[in-house]
């Protein structure tokens, strides 16, 4: 987790420096702020509202409208299952069920130990290799329920090892 005690305005100084103070800068600023801080906290959104001189409610309105923004902390690993049409007809539903079973969480949730967040996306544009599982920006094509479980096991083992050496 990358949260610290520094006020959000200071943490975002470099993000603000790269942009103007127009309303049209709002979405790029939210994107960069999230890249930097992992998610959009209330404090972050308030700081952005002050910077752009727009009501905090508008910032919240935009942040909740788009699928890309997260208002809660996320897990260390981001598990994404594509549910595009090609993935769907080639069995992405089975993979989603398998992932939910393996991680014990539902779509949009994060495991309690903050290791995994699981979400689905509308389409990743890799339809030729459907169905698709993505973990931390690594694409795994032609997925099966079984292989998905094996891949997740590898991550779990990796984490267990990392904890052992701490």
């Amino acid at each position: 987790m990358r949260t610290t005690q520094t006020p959000a305005t200071d943490q975002l100084a470099d993000v603000f420096a790269r942009h103007g103070r127009e309303r049209s800068d709002l979405i790029p600023i939210l994107q960069e702020a999230q890249d930097k801080l992992g998610y959009l906290s209330k404090e972050t959104m308030r700081a952005i509202a002050r910077q752009l001189r727009v009501p905090a409610s508008s910032v919240l309105g935009v942040a909740t409208f788009y699928a890309q923004f997260y208002l809660q902390p996320r897990g260390r690993h981001r598990v994404v299952v594509c549910r595009g049409t090609a993935c769907h007809v080639r069995g992405s539903r089975e993979i989603r069920e398998g992932v939910e079973q393996k991680l014990g969480i539902r779509e949009g949730e994060t495991t309690e130990d903050l290791l995994f967040s699981y979400e689905t996306v509308a389409c990743l544009g890799n339809c030729a290799l459907a169905p698709l599982l993505v973990i931390d920006d690594r694409y795994h094509g032609r997925m099966t329920r079984e292989r998905a479980a094996t891949i997740l096991d590898e991550y779990l083992q990796g984490e267990a090892q990392a904890r052992g050496t701490d």
């Binding site: 790029p28 595009g84 090609a86 389409c123 030729a128």
Partner: protein, 616 residues
């Protein structure tokens, strides 16, 4: 990079680049975008290491390119000048490719594609049936150039169409040429591009904007991604020509954040074009100026709709607004704005350089040029396919796509994403163009083509698309917000075995209301998957509602899988693949499914080569 100040300097630079001995070295062109999910990055790194290890840096050229189209067989590469085509390349193959093919011109047959029908080995791209029947216009550079190197684009006459337009054509003549070419918008609706430009040119207001819609939110479509990641300068050049014709001085590319490679390559293309002075002030020494910026989308399907896209660039929730005023009159920041899709823009340079007559000679009378389709789903050769308009569905799915795998049968092609519909088997020989596709209840859309076989349930597919549009509805207008929810509830009920006869009429009634009364394109087309499956697959709905059966074996509540003891040889494949150990049986003895444990995932049916798993 020195700025290019005139058309003459552009031609001179091209000649200089073409003369560079580096460009005449044996060259390996490796797909580095679509093939990444299959490990092409490791292949690339191995090539770089191997070339360095052997001290071949000044004897061999490695070119990383965009998508070659044949994603099914990735990672793919071509060795030039011979044009030898290799597929499913692994890092272990790299030393041999360099030794035998690059240095000695020999073909490694193991890596060649074998035509499954004729059993012939295909040494070159043009021998492969997948490529042989295609006709590449928009994709002419994909696989030939490094999308991150503007010089590659310039050697293939890049930006010369822009030079021609600026030097020898008035803005009106450019619009006239585009109009005569018959180019229609490739984003889906097929509105004549020239007419759209003219409306914006004639509108009052300054500055004017041109926008490239690279949002591509349709599930099952990835051709715009293919162009952005394979030939970004073609998009820039098209936008520059359009901006000159319309009188626009500023532009935006609105691209999905879900496409990080496309964002990176487009940003780099803009930087390089600026460095050469091809973007900015006084382009090629004329008084035409154009500035281009990238805006990343933030994940909302509705932002593909013009007015919603504009709201999103302005920093608002991406909600559409009623038209008129049309964006051409009052668009971005209240100024005249022209929005075209990626593929539309990429067609423009070739229309200007080769002429409207040439372009109009391709395709059909009312749908000219080519169209790229994203072929996916239950088809042998998935990938990107560019064919002249008017090609038939049979040509695309069976001749290029190789048909449906695993001895199953073709049921339908879903075209146009959630705004489209399912085209059933009886229309396989229909020419695909804007008008004929919409006549059967689908749309060309951006070109997604998802093939469905007899193990796809059409009711469930309708439920799937409705789920998608329901969750993507922006919520502004009631018919879309509530109508899609009611549609989804009804469809879900049917797939769960709780449907009643009256539900079918209800679906049609709600569907037509949503279609009529919604504000924007998302809502107006949201019922299409439901209405088109009702139209073409009525019997499947009936089976769900009256017989409580799912003929395709997809809807879990209505499906029981059993193993046909006569056909089963006890090979054990299904037993191994079963996630819940519901299948038991000795080797060489017919297996049995324990219905208590079975979760109806269908993995046994998927792996069975004998067709012994039956749906009852």
């Amino acid at each position: 990079m020195e700025p290019i100040r005139s058309a003459e300097e552009l031609f001179a630079l091209k000649e200089r680049l073409r003369g560079d001995p580096q460009r005449h070295l044996p060259c390996i062109s490796l797909c580095d975008t679509g093939c990444r999910a299959l490990g092409s990055a490791a292949v690339r790194d191995t090539f770089i290491a191997e070339i360095r290890k052997r001290g071949l840096s000044d004897k061999v050229r490695l070119q990383t390119t965009g998508c070659h189209g044949f994603c099914e067989r990735g990672p793919v590469l071509v060795v030039r000048p011979q044009g030898i085509f290799y597929q499913r390349v692994a890092p272990e193959d790299v030393p041999e490719i360099i030794e035998k093919t690059v240095l000695n011109g020999e073909t490694i047959e193991r890596l060649c594609y074998r035509d499954p029908v004729s059993r012939k080995l295909c040494h070159k791209e043009e021998d492969v049936p997948f490529y042989r029947r295609q006709s590449k216009t928009v994709f002419r550079h994909n696989g030939m150039i490094d999308p991150q190197e503007i010089d590659d684009y310039l050697t293939l006459d890049g930006y010369e169409a822009l030079a021609k337009a600026l030097q020898s054509m008035t803005p009106d003549e450019v619009i006239e040429e585009v109009s005569r070419s018959g180019l229609r918008g490739r984003g889906g609706a097929g509105f004549p591009t020239g007419r759209k430009w003219r409306l914006c040119r004639e509108a009052e207001g300054s500055p004017k904007y041109t926008v490239c819609n690279a949002d591509e939110g349709d599930p099952g479509a990835f051709m715009d991604r293919g162009v952005c990641e394979g030939d970004p300068h073609a998009i820039l050049e098209g936008m520059l020509i359009g901006a000159y014709a319309i009188g626009a001085s500023e532009g935006y590319i609105y691209v999905r954040a879900e496409y990080p490679i496309a964002v990176k390559y487009l940003s780099r293309a803009i930087e390089q074009a600026e460095a050469y002075g091809l973007l900015g002030d006084s382009i090629l020494g004329t008084d035409f100026s154009f500035h281009l910026k990238i805006k990343q989308g933030a994940g909302a399907f509705v932002c593909g709709e013009e007015t919603a896209l504009i709201a999103s660039i302005e920093g608002h929730r991406g909600m559409p607004r009623p038209r008129p005023p049309f964006p051409a009159q009052s668009g971005l920041f209240g100024k005249p704005t022209n929005i075209n899709n990626v593929e539309t823009w990429a067609n423009v340079p070739v229309i200007i350089s080769r002429g409207a007559d040439w372009f109009a000679s391709i395709g059909t009378e009312k749908s000219t040029g080519t169209k790229i389709f994203a072929l996916a789903g239950k088809v042998q050769n998935t990938g990107l396919v560019e064919v002249p308009m008017g090609a038939t569905l049979r040509e695309v799915v069976f001749e290029i796509g190789g048909g449906v795998p695993r001895r199953r049968t073709f049921k339908a092609a879903q075209m146009g994403g959630p705004s489209g519909g399912c085209v059933p088997e009886q229309y396989l020989d229909m020419p695909i163009d804007f008008d004929s596709v919409s006549a059967v209840g689908a749309i060309m859309g951006s070109g997604g083509m998802v093939v469905m076989d007899n193990t796809t349930c059409m009711v469930e597919v309708a439920r799937y698309f409705t789920d998608f549009v329901q969750s993507e509805s922006c919520g502004k207008c009631v018919p879309c917000r509530i109508g899609t929810r009611r549609l989804l509830e009804t469809l879900t009920r049917i797939t769960e075995g709780l449907g009643e006869d009256s539900d079918l009429a209800l679906l049609r009634e709600i569907g037509e209301a949503v279609q009529t009364a919604s504000l924007c394109g998302l809502g107006k087309t949201a019922p299409n998957p439901t209405l088109s499956t009702l139209r073409h697959f009525w019997h499947e709905y009936e089976a769900h509602v009256r017989d409580k059966k799912c003929p395709a074996g997809v809807c879990k509540a209505l499906t029981t899988f059993v193993i046909d003891a006569e056909k089963c040889t006890g090979c054990g494949l299904c037993l191994k693949g079963c996630p819940t150990e519901a299948i038991t049986g000795e080797l060489k003895v017919p297996h049995v499914i324990d219905q208590e444990k079975c979760i109806k995932c269908g993995s046994c049916r998927d792996v069975c080569n004998l067709g012994a798993v039956l749906v009852t």
